[in-house]
């Protein structure tokens, strides 16, 4: 029977990373993936990643996918696409469907990296065409270049719901509202702020009560919920939409591990049924590993590290790597993984209410409830005692108010104006002792699009604001449009005085608008006058 040193199931971030590490140790490695395209969800993730350099921060997901594929090819990994693993059997045997044939394979080690499946939520009409998963929306628009709908309502304010809402707008769809039964935004505040400033209203503590339509979705009704998540009569609101997008969490797709006979546990913090694994992902069956979302829902960044760890552990298991080399290399990866597991969104903080940042600043409640920082909350963060700020000349304004593991802004500023420090979850500080040149690298490097360059002295009575812009059509210099507040409220006319694109900005356009000086700290987005928000 055809046999490999390692068979990896799933060519996503975890699976490819595992395969690369193992192949680099000299193993014969095959990767099977049921999809026509490799990369798992990476090719649907068109936003810049968070983290640090070692986590490929500020690189867009699909580009990380391209890099992984190139590395896999170089390392000699055999990647089989349209290869559906039908089952896993005793003696580490796999039955794989490829085209019209079922092929039997054996492996001395197996890494299951099958990822996750979307959770569901039910309401009247949820089976109508037009109600789709957020993953479906991403697949349609980012892989196949088709809009999931024209007018969309998003259910779920976790990172998936927030990121996909932004992507929907980038694809040219209108997002009419973002709804979540929880009383607070679940995902990163910076992701929420990106869509709030486009004018998307947030309905927290609301749920969908009905999808309307006979043959497909023509509208949706939402209602406020009480403390037991039951809709409150009389609070119903209607929206005309053709699409309802569900982003209510993920569950590990662990069926193969269960079929293999691994000890499984039900762990709500890891997203559901997961295998019992050691720190390198080895299950209760020696030589059988799990990596990535299948052993606990996290981000692609951590999946890649987990994948590498399991790949190295598999190599050591078969003697392709000495125990000492394994320990040394795993130690580095553990540190990298650990740094992603810090801050307000750390796995251990799930479900906890956090009142203050690590710096001791009260977290913004408006960000959690409405998706944007209100003026009072903002004040606490931009006039901090630990930073020296100045108001003359061009300078960065960083609206990053949660402890998330991310620090590319620090490296982006060659003048040393921005400091995060060793703890990558710390809030960035501005060091005004160093002078800003207005190069804009900090704006383009911020995965959360939370950095703006403001110059209150641009012209008498006018300030300039440089902001990140990732929509089409790209504004033109000299164009007159509308300045929008953090909540997407029109503030008045704004003139485009500069539009910058550069390879180093990686598809993010830096748009500089001229606004009355009193809007210097309120205008945060630009809308072409001919377009309504988000269209």
């Amino acid at each position: 029977m055809k046999r490999y040193d390692l068979i990896v199931v799933g060519a996503g971030p975890a699976g490819l990373s595992a395969a690369i590490e193992a192949a680099r140790c000299g193993m014969r490695v095959a990767v099977f993936d049921e999809n026509a395209k490799p990369g798992g969800q990476l090719f649907k993730q068109i936003h810049k990643f968070f983290g640090s350099k070692e986590h490929q921060a500020k690189i867009r997901g699909y580009k990380i996918g391209e890099t992984l594929l190139a590395e896999a090819a170089e390392a000699g990994v055999e990647v089989f696409l349209n290869a559906t693993v039908a089952g896993i059997y005793l003696d580490k045997e796999l039955l794989v469907q490829r085209g019209e044939v079922m092929e039997h394979f054996k492996a001395d080690t197996i890494i299951i990296a099958t990822g996750a499946a979307e959770n569901m939520v039910t309401f009247e009409g949820w089976t109508l065409p037009g109600v789709i998963g957020a993953g479906a929306a991403q697949t349609m628009m980012n892989l196949y270049g088709i809009k999931p709908g024209q007018k969309v309502l998003m259910l779920g304010s976790g990172n998936v719901g927030l990121v996909v809402s932004f992507q929907l707008m980038q694809a040219g769809c209108e997002v009419v509202a973002l709804v979540d039964a929880a009383p607070r935004v679940g995902g990163y505040g910076v992701h929420a702020a990106k869509i709030a400033r486009c004018g998307v209203p947030f309905y927290l503590a609301h749920t969908i009560t009905k999808a309307e339509g006979s043959n497909c979705v023509t509208g949706v009704e939402i209602a406020q919920v009480d403390d037991d998540f039951a809709p409150i009569p009389g609070t119903e609101k209607h929206f005309d939409v053709d699409t309802i997008c569900l982003a209510v969490g993920l569950s590990p797709m662990s069926q193969l591990l269960k079929m293999a006979g691994c000890n499984m546990v039900d762990d709500p913090r890891r997203g559901g049924q997961v295998p019992q694994v050691d720190e390198n992902g080895e299950t209760s069956i020696p030589g059988l590993f799990a990596a990535g979302d299948v052993s606990g829902i996290e981000e692609a960044s951590s999946a890649m590290i987990q994948g590498r760890m399991s790949g190295l552990a598999a190599a050591a298991y078969l003697g392709f790597l000495s125990e000492q080399d394994k320990d040394n290399r795993l130690a580095d990866l553990e540190i990298a993984l650990d740094s992603l597991h810090q801050g307000m969104f750390a796995p251990g903080s799930k479900g906890k209410t956090i009142a203050k940042t690590d710096e001791g600043i009260a977290v913004s409640q408006s960000l959690l409830k409405k998706g944007y920082l209100d003026d009072a909350d903002l004040e606490r963060f931009i006039n901090r005692s630990d930073q020296t700020d100045k108001k003359s000349g061009i300078h960065p304004v960083i609206e990053c108010t949660q402890n998330i593991p991310c620090n590319p802004c620090q490296d982006a500023c060659t003048r040393g104006c921005i400091k995060v420090g060793k703890t990558i979850t710390a809030l960035p500080r501005i060091d005004a002792a160093n002078s800003c040149t207005g190069c804009g690298m900090c704006i383009a490097s911020c995965s959360g699009q939370a950095i703006f360059l403001v110059d209150e002295d641009y012209a008498p009575g006018y300030a300039s604001i440089t902001l990140p812009y990732e929509f089409l059509p790209r504004p033109q210099k000299g164009e007159l449009g509308i300045a929008l507040s953090r909540s997407g409220r029109p503030l008045g006319y704004a003139e485009i005085i500069d539009v910058r694109s550069a390879k180093a900005y990686d598809q993010t356009t830096l748009v500089t608008i001229k606004v009355p000086v009193e809007q210097a700290m309120t205008a945060r987005f630009y809308q072409p006058e001919t377009n309504a928000a988000g269209q």
Partner: protein, 106 residues
């Protein structure tokens, strides 16, 4: 317009050859190799099938071949997951009614 002609991050989507296929007897155009469901979506088709018991409409739901809601009859074979089955020129697609083809009045 349902197709994204230009994307601010991704630029232009790579597409195959433009081909024709048939849906309940009507001629539709799509791109070879893209999922059948994508070609149908571009043509404005929302309903892929009607359910066996309640005859309720269903369409794309997960778009990755898991939920099996988008199944249709493709070249005479029922229960084909259109979201992961590549479009081939001349394919005959039928709206599925339960486990059979939907009667279509021309």
């Amino acid at each position: 317009m349902t197709r994204i002609s230009e994307h601010p991050i991704l630029g232009e989507t790579e597409k195959g050859r433009r081909v024709t296929f048939f849906m309940d007897g009507k001629t539709i155009e799509g791109y070879a190799g893209e999922p059948i469901a994508v070609a149908l979506k571009a043509a404005g088709v929302m309903v892929h099938r009607y359910t066996q018991k309640a005859h309720e409409p269903r369409g794309i739901f997960c778009a990755i071949g898991r939920c099996t809601d988008c199944v249709m009859i493709v070249d005479g074979v029922p229960n084909i997951r259109t979201c992961i089955t590549p479009l081939v020129e001349g394919m005959k697609i039928q709206t599925q009614d339960g486990v059979s083809g939907l009667e279509v009045s021309e």
